[in-house]
């Protein structure tokens, strides 16, 4: 497209012809206030917040409906433009209940931010405010407060254009106009948390996050959702400094992070609400379980496990893993046990529903990472047969719940193995059935890379300290490998 020259606040800028002024300004680092405009949801131009002064135009214009033209002279910070923006904000706040103290949005609210930036006027409202519905549970995850709503219609456009499920609509007119559920429906489409994110005010809030912790206490870490092979970019919000909030859980919520190549602006509800069990049933101690249950050090465990691995035929040691391992973990596992057969297929327990938007069938993030290293998975049925025939003497189980793989017969199958070991972040029914139990970190406690189903390698970062003496999987493999190497040297000398 042809480039055109225009002026913004006196600066000479260049942009593609037809690009909206609000977008061209954002590219140049100037944020024009806005509520209804959203890059993924269009620009109805109903909030009138992005109003700017255009030289030659008799009246101010909304910059989200104004394409860039050659020679356009736009001012977004002139006194006239700022007065117009403040007036628009004042209109939005006429019937706003101003209940910031009890509103979960406060701290990240568009009304608060713009009031401090461009508002700061004295209220002229003397009349009573219009009352509408409050605390309406419109779905399993979302709470609606119609009084706080500024009717930007981002949420209705989300359910109309993105999920195409049409649960929300604008009802009535004038001062009683409101967002409401379409009669007979509830907001439950698997992507409902996104309407909370797009809502610029506190009208739509998260029922899960409600009153758990104030947003200004949260730390944010870039991460990748481990919920399926899509690998959506997420931001993990943690509360570590004030542990009496959020019922003691360290992860307070998960928010999507904009990534145009993978998930755009959205994530699914499965990924968003997957943080609750992160602190439950965690392993933190290195345990020797046979002959007696005893806590041991990592060094002891590594030496003992290395001894056992050297004794047995590596081809008879089956490694049960899953796509939850990072690229680093896969590499370290390959180096530790190059000859042992691997079983990490997501069938039968780690598959679920898929849809056209984001969710993928495989509910683990990193099967492609193993594939890229040339690792291949055997089938769990074949492993069950090999265990029964005695072909497999040992099982190295990593983060996998065998009862979900084999059902009720898992316990008997595991007993067939002469030696087994469990390594993982969470307790499973069979995590103490083997000889050792090693604590590993969850994805929020380590830094690594996942390769998504399209082959995109993405980094996730450490948001929290590990529990107890837990270590990332690749460090555990490294410890055992070092113990193997050290003893070989000892034997040689």
């Amino acid at each position: 497209m042809a480039k055109v020259k225009f002026k913004l606040n006196g600066r000479e800028l260049e942009a593609e012809a037809g690009r909206l002024v609000i977008e061209a300004a954002k590219d140049a680092g100037v944020e024009i206030p806005h509520y209804c405009y959203h890059p993924a949801l269009g620009n109805p131009g109903n909030c009138r917040m992005c109003i700017v002064e255009v030289a030659g135009a008799p009246k101010p214009q909304v910059s989200c409906r104004l394409p860039v033209l050659e020679g356009l002279d736009v001012k977004s910070d002139s006194p006239a433009a700022k007065r117009a923006q403040a007036s628009a904000l004042e209109l939005h706040l006429v019937n706003h209940p101003l209940d910031c103290p009890v509103c979960d949005q406060s701290g990240e609210c568009g009304l608060q931010d713009y009031y401090m930036k461009i508002g700061q006027y004295q209220s002229q409202v003397r009349e009573d405010k219009v009352h509408k519905g409050k605390r309406l549970e419109i779905g399993p995850h979302v709470m609606l407060d119609q009084e706080r709503c500024i009717l930007c219609t981002r949420c209705t456009r989300f359910v109309d254009d993105v999920t195409k499920t049409h649960e929300l609509g604008v009802f009535k007119r004038g001062h009683v106009e409101r967002i409401e559920l379409t009669p007979g429906m509830t907001l439950d489409n698997g992507y409902t948390g996104n309407v909370v994110d797009v809502c610029p005010v506190g009208a739509l809030t998260d029922r899960d996050f409600r009153y758990q912790v104030r947003v200004w206490y949260l730390d944010k870490t870039d991460s990748i959702c481990p919920g399926c092979s899509r690998g959506c970019s997420i931001s993990v919000h943690t509360n570590t400094k004030r542990n009496w909030h959020n019922e003691g859980r360290r992860v307070a919520r998960i928010k999507p992070r904009y990534n145009p190549d993978v998930n755009g602006h959205w994530i699914c509800d499965d990924g968003r609400y997957s943080y609750r069990p992160l602190d439950a049933g965690r392993l933190g101690k290195v345990l020797r379980l046979q002959p007696a249950r005893e806590e041991i050090s990592w060094a002891e465990a590594a030496v003992e496990i290395a001894d056992r691995l050297r004794e047995g035929d590596p081809k008879g040691l089956a490694v049960v893993a899953s796509g939850l391992l990072s690229n680093e973990d896969w590499k370290a596992l390959k180096e530790l046990l190059p000859q042992s057969p691997l079983y990490f297929s997501p069938e039968p327990d780690q598959v679920g529903e898929a849809d056209e938007l984001l969710r993928r069938r495989e509910k683990v993030p990193n099967l492609k990472g193993a594939e890229a290293l040339g690792l291949k998975s055997g089938s769990f049925e074949a492993l069950a047969k090999d265990l029964e025939s005695g072909k497999v003497w040992g099982l190295y189980v990593i983060e996998r719940d065998l009862e979900k793989v084999w059902g009720a017969k898992a316990k008997d199958l595991l007993a067939k193995a002469k030696w087994s070991l469990f390594q993982g972040p969470f307790k499973t029914p069979l995590s103490e059935a083997g000889s050792y139990r090693l604590p590993a970190t969850a994805y929020v406690e380590e830094t690594g890379h996942f390769t998504n189903f399209e082959g995109k390698v993405q980094a996730y970062h450490k948001a929290l300290e590990p529990i107890g003496s837990a270590k990332p999987d690749h460090e555990i493999f490294g410890l055992i490998r070092a113990a193997l190497a050290a003893e070989r040297e000892g034997a040689a000398a």
Binding site: D99, C100, P101, V102, K134, Y211, R214, R242, W244, H245
Partner: protein, 183 residues
């Protein structure tokens, strides 16, 4: 960074300063001046020759209660609404502003729609409080005051220095200062 040194000359010790007697007498002169001026004021007040305040008096604290200024910041108090429920909406602004981090609040859903949020627990650790009064300034609903007129807040253990919501509201008397003593 180069250090700048300034040499200060020590005051000279003369015989007169070294025997101390002259300085002691100078000091006692001040003491006796106060004694006689105060005595004169009390006498004049007793004879009705002087209005206003009598002379200075030693406050017999702790036998007599401490006299506090009208705006003194003392122990915190949580206020109630007209219907008897705590005014606090658990907005956590006092917890946020508190420089000593001595306030701990947990929030919950309130049963009525009019009041959406309320405090489930509200603890102040007076052992950590620095009595700056920021919590009172920050409160948007006038739920916390520092006007209980209580300055004797010491307790036998650190745990007893923490006041919970019922104690701050005045619903439950705080544990006595000496463990086991009558309330």
């Amino acid at each position: 960074m180069a250090m700048t040194v300034r040499v200060v000359e020590r005051p000279k010790r003369t015989f007169a300063t070294q025997i101390f007697l002259i300085e002691v007498w100078k000091g006692l002169l001040v003491t006796f001046r106060h004694l006689f001026v105060n005595l004169a004021r009390h006498t004049a007040y007793a004879l009705g020759m002087r209005g206003g305040e009598p002379g200075a008096v030693t406050i017999q604290y702790p036998e007599d209660p401490a006299v506090l200024g009208k705006r003194a910041r003392t122990r915190h108090r949580l206020l109630k609404r007209e219907d008897g429920a705590p005014r606090c909406t658990a907005c956590l602004l006092c917890e946020t502003i508190c420089p000593a981090k001595c306030i701990r609040i947990t929030a919950e859903n309130a049963p009525s729609v009019g009041v959406e949020k309320r405090a489930k627990s509200f603890d102040i650790d007076l052992g950590m409080c620095i009595f700056c009064g920021y919590c009172v300034e920050a409160c948007p609903v006038d739920a916390i005051h520092m006007d209980a007129n209580e300055v004797e807040i010491s307790r036998g253990t650190r745990q007893d220095m923490i006041w919970n919501m019922a104690e701050l509201l005045g619903d439950v008397p705080k544990a006595p200062k000496v463990p086991g003593a009558a309330r």
